[in-house]
């Protein structure tokens, strides 16, 4: 490709740069500039002179790392971070475990209702998180919930699904419900890409379906497992719309339940954009550190060739 014939090939040199103008422009305006602005804001603070009334009474000054120091010692943010780690420790393994299990099951010979199951499990992907949280929220609500109704009918105690420990499970369930299908499809698609001869050989050697799944299929889809893990970590740490939607249904969800909710609260309710900016930067860095840390750890174990 590099040795393009000079003849008639006008514009070849500049074409890629021209083609990339829209993306570059949008990137600068809506990614680079906001990130830079957030970092800038995070090092500033508002100084209020006197009573803070009138023009010029409030001005922005450099704050150094004060906002970061505040954020790191802010118990609301730390509590939120701990909550989200607990939540993520449920969501990510359960969701990806189910996704892998379903993908392997879908790949079973002679399976019935394959198309239906695949479609039904993938369906939640099409449903907005807000609406998913809303639907599950009603299913958790004591007066409506069929689960509680059945427990009651069986004479068992009715746990409050929107409080305490069960609340974590209830929130995790929404994420698992919404994300399993998509990840299943990603894993299933890469399972389908494994050449059939690989299994034939194993089958002739007398391997059972289970052995084939454990010894051949799982190692061969490891790259897609790593990728789904990577993106699931990022998505989980950013949970916002589900707890925000459930909030009207319960008093146990504070306005600062997840770190992102805390950022929103500080930026738009408390009007402290500087604190919010510092927190956002910290969350972004923590997210990147965690997800790339995972990727590095995983990649040192599996090395997969580049496919271009």
């Amino acid at each position: 490709m590099t040795r393009t014939p000079r003849r008639k090939a006008y514009g070849v040199k500049s074409a890629p740069y021209v083609f990339l103008v829209p993306a570059t422009l949008l990137f600068l305006l809506f990614f680079a500039l906001p990130i830079g602005y957030a970092v800038y804001l995070s090092f500033r603070r508002t100084e209020v002179a006197g009573l803070g009334l009138g023009k010029g009474a409030r001005q922005e000054i450099w704050a150094g790392v004060a906002n970061y120091a505040d954020a790191l010692s802010d118990s609301e943010l730390l509590d939120g971070a701990l909550r989200i780690l607990g939540y993520g420790a449920i969501v990510v393994p359960v969701m990806l475990g189910l996704a892998l299990l379903f993908a392997l099951l879908l790949d079973t010979d002679g399976l019935r209702a394959r198309g239906f199951s695949r479609l039904a499990i993938f369906l939640p992907y099409a449903i907005p998180g807000v609406i998913a949280a809303l639907m599950w929220g009603f299913l958790y609500l004591p007066d409506v919930s069929p689960f509680l109704y059945l427990l009651d009918a069986a004479g068992l105690p009715r746990p409050d699904l929107l409080d305490g420990g069960p609340l974590y499970l209830s929130l995790a369930n929404i994420a698992v419900w919404g994300g399993t299908g998509f990840n299943m499809i990603v894993i299933y698609t890469s399972l389908r890409a494994i050449p059939a001869e690989v299994f034939e050989a194993a089958r002739i050697d007398g391997c059972s379906q289970l052995q084939i799944a454990l010894r051949i299929k799982i190692p061969m889809v490891a790259p897609s497992l790593i990728l789904t893990f990577f993106f699931s970590i990022i998505a989980t740490l950013q949970v916002f719309s589900e707890p925000t939607t459930l909030k009207p249904l319960t008093n146990s969800l504070s306005t600062t339940w997840s770190p992102l909710m805390k950022v929103y609260q500080d930026a738009f309710v408390n009007n402290d954009i500087h604190a919010a900016a510092a927190q956002a930067v910290i969350i972004a860095l923590a997210t990147l550190a965690l997800s790339f840390g995972f990727l590095k750890a995983a990649n040192s174990r599996t090395k997969q060739g580049d496919s271009r």
């Binding site: 514009g11 919010a276 956002a280």
Partner: protein
Amino acid sequence: MSTPSLTAPGRRRLPLVPTAALLLGALYCLLPVVWVLVASTKSGSELFSTFTFLPGSGFTDNVADLTEYRDGVYWRWMANSAFYAGAGALLSTAVSAVSGYALAVYRFRGRETVFNILLAGVLMPPVILAVPQYLLLAQADMTDSYLSVLLPLILSPYGVYLARIYASAAVPADVIEAGRMDGGGEWRIFRTIALPMMLPGLVTVFLFQFVAVWNNFLLPYIMLGDDEKFPVTLGLYTLLQQGSNTPALYTLVITGALLAIIPLIALFLVIQRFWSLDLLSGAVKS
């Protein structure tokens, strides 16, 4: 092929356990959808008094109430969502196509750098983007407008990524060479030769982006104040919030949720046949 044959005795039994386990998974995934379908048929009093999965008698009333609610603001939200998702996905696909093509086909200085920087965008938590995006748009006096929700979502790093992968797989280098030999300009070659070849991949990008924009909550939540411009997700959220004081609104929320997911499910059922999922695995492998 899938019938249990007798040729390989013992091995090719009907896999009952996997089938049952998957059907159980399917049931779990369909449960809330079935519930919302049933619940939307219940009148306000039936909702809290009858068994959850017992259909009620008020579906048409509920739809009529929802349509009447504040002069049909619900349908306005639906139209807004369709606009945000449709226009956003279309613009996004166009940008992804032209960028992915450039990154796949040309060799130029800084290619990988540009690609990696664009890709890093996918890792940015939306909040570190959305809050300053709001503040910056506020300075341009552009918040609380259709554009404030539309513009930040046009560049999709994932879309560029998919388009690049698809272009390098679907557009052979010699076809482009041949186009150049025929004296076609680079833009013409892209539009008339490469674009049709990339179309199946671009459909995937469009659908991904459509779902992503339709499902987005954080950005409109931050940007918009005037509920005439709300997408349906944000509209339903505000309705639910008011519902905690007036439970009568709950039936409206539930009916609204059902009507909001019907177009997406319909779209999903139609497109999953064309959806090139192989693209996904290709994306996963590199």
